[in-house]
């Protein structure tokens, strides 16, 4: 395990290996290093959360990438955030120069578009053309495939997803089963892609994301006393059987079950948030913080795809946090709640 030996000691018990340097990406990594300092930090967001009102918050953004006019409404703000997201995706595609990795990050958007299209299809709603245009399949191609019900032109994994989604729906005529079926296909596809790219980073990233999704799912099922079973993905580090056991256990026992894992603090935060505040905010913030921590370990890589991928995800997280803070300021939500959810 040479990769693990190269990790700094303090990350060793929390995060898995991130792989080795790839000198083909020396220029791209240098470009990322030059711009990653511009990422807004926790203090900036804390100050933004404490702004007196939305106008003051928008004023504070004037010197950043997120500047909008003082009287900007929610739609204009959302458009600005959408533009920032498109820009970072374009930059990522330019720098990464690896179709498989690009596809890995585009396909979740394709799957999201597909979920929406299948729902509209089976419930006989108009298909419309308001799909997200950041995926690998263009909106026009997507719309044409669904309106003609001819999916031959779509990538194979999407065809598989469509088949699974439609079959899932017609089994019980339950719209939720479309998502469950597509989620499984998506997880299998992403794992294959991650393994196919080579190197450990993408695979480890996927496994951490899967674990965090499974932990969130476990808490959501437990909170709502859900009777659903087999909802966990198999591809993480945490065994689904352990998560299934947690559904029957009390919150204290759940925390104990995760004591020897890197997710101890995530689970502790989640259990405390649900017990004290009936809220998933702290759990979701802890999950984001855990993933950010993993992405930040790519600082120790001199050249490679890892810093570029990490930048994309950290920038998207920054955009998400910006949306959250502005939406909360607009709705006059207390700064304490905003700070609880902040994960940068």
């Amino acid at each position: 395990m040479p990769e693990i030996m190269e990790q700094p000691l303090f990350n060793f018990t929390t995060y898995p290996a991130i792989g080795e340097d790839d000198w083909r990406y020396i220029y791209a990594t240098a470009e990322i290093r030059a711009i990653e300092d511009k990422l807004l930090g926790q203090p900036f967001f804390a100050e933004l959360a404490g702004a007196k009102n939305i106008k003051d918050a928008l004023d504070m953004l004037s010197g950043t990438d997120y500047a909008v006019s003082a009287g900007a409404n929610g739609q204009e703000t959302e458009q600005m955030l959408g533009r920032r997201r498109s820009e970072v995706r374009r930059l990522f595609e330019r720098l990464i120069d690896n179709e498989k990795i690009v596809e890995f990050f585009q396909s979740p958007i394709d799957f999201a578009n597909m979920r929406l299209a299948i729902r509209r299809l089976v419930l006989e709603k108009p298909l419309s053309d308001d799909y997200c245009d950041l995926g690998g399949v263009s909106v026009a191609q997507f719309e044409a495939a669904f309106s003609d019900e001819d999916y031959g032109g779509l990538p194979e994994h999407l065809q598989e997803g469509i088949e699974a989604g439609v079959l899932g729906y017609y089994k019980n005529k339950n719209v939720r089963d479309i998502d469950f079926a597509i989620d499984k296909v998506e997880a299998d596809f992403l794992l294959d892609e991650a393994m196919g790219v080579g190197g450990v980073f993408l695979e480890e990233l996927f496994r951490i994301q899967t674990d965090l999704t499974n932990i969130k799912t476990m808490f959501r099922m437990k909170y709502s006393n859900s009777q659903l079973r087999n909802m966990f993905f198999d591809d993480g580090y945490i065994e689904p059987s352990r998560l299934a056991q947690c559904l029957e256990a009390g919150y204290d026992t759940i925390v104990q079950n995760f004591l020897a894992t890197p997710y101890q603090y995530v689970v502790e935060a989640g259990a405390a948030g649900l017990q004290k505040e009936n809220s998933f905010i702290k759990l979701e913030a802890a999950c984001d913080a855990h993933l950010n921590g993993f992405l930040k370990t790519t600082r120790y890589i001199t050249a490679g795809t890892q810093p570029i991928i990490a930048y994309l995800l950290l920038k998207e997280q920054e955009i998400k946090m910006m949306r959250m803070v502005l939406a909360c300021k607009k709705s006059q939500i207390e700064p304490e709640i905003i700070l609880d959810r902040l994960a940068i």
Binding site: D130, M221, S224, S279
Partner: protein, 205 residues
Amino acid sequence: MQGNINATRMELLRLRRRVSLAERGHKLLSDKRDEISRQLILISRQLGMLRKEVEQELVETSRRFVMARATMEPEHIRAAMDVPTKTFSLAINFASIMSVRVPRFTKDIAGEIISYGFANTSGELDIALRGLEKVFDRLLELAEKEKQAQLLADELQKTRRRVNVLEHVVIPELGEMIRFIYAKLAEAERDNISRLMKIADIIRA
């Protein structure tokens, strides 16, 4: 007005009947006004608490929804929420409170409010939607009671105006007319007596 009055016994009888009717109407309307006031106070007492609770729950629900919506990517929130699976129909029947037609809502809700997977959605969205589902019954109750209160308040205003018109205008005016006719008839009676006395004096002389 008194100039137009036909000062006859027939008119007097007619006016007396009208006064009696107006007094009975006044009594009935006063009772109606009191009962509507009582009902209105009862409803408004419930309404204050109910509105406060519903508003609190709605604020909490919308706070959670804002948080969930803001922390999910737009394509995921659209995929989860764009095609709703819960159907809702509302039937409005009418009941009568003190002859005021007040609405009674009957709802018919089918389907699950949560119709998305776990992978790309927020737990806060689950809580927000379940909260909305829970508050919906109370929201309808609030709408029903507020409409009832509004209709009863309108009716109370109308009834109070009618009672006041009867009490301060119609009945006093009728009384005035009756007094006038009495006076006229008494005068005619005195005329008649003095005329008869004069005739009697002429005959005696």
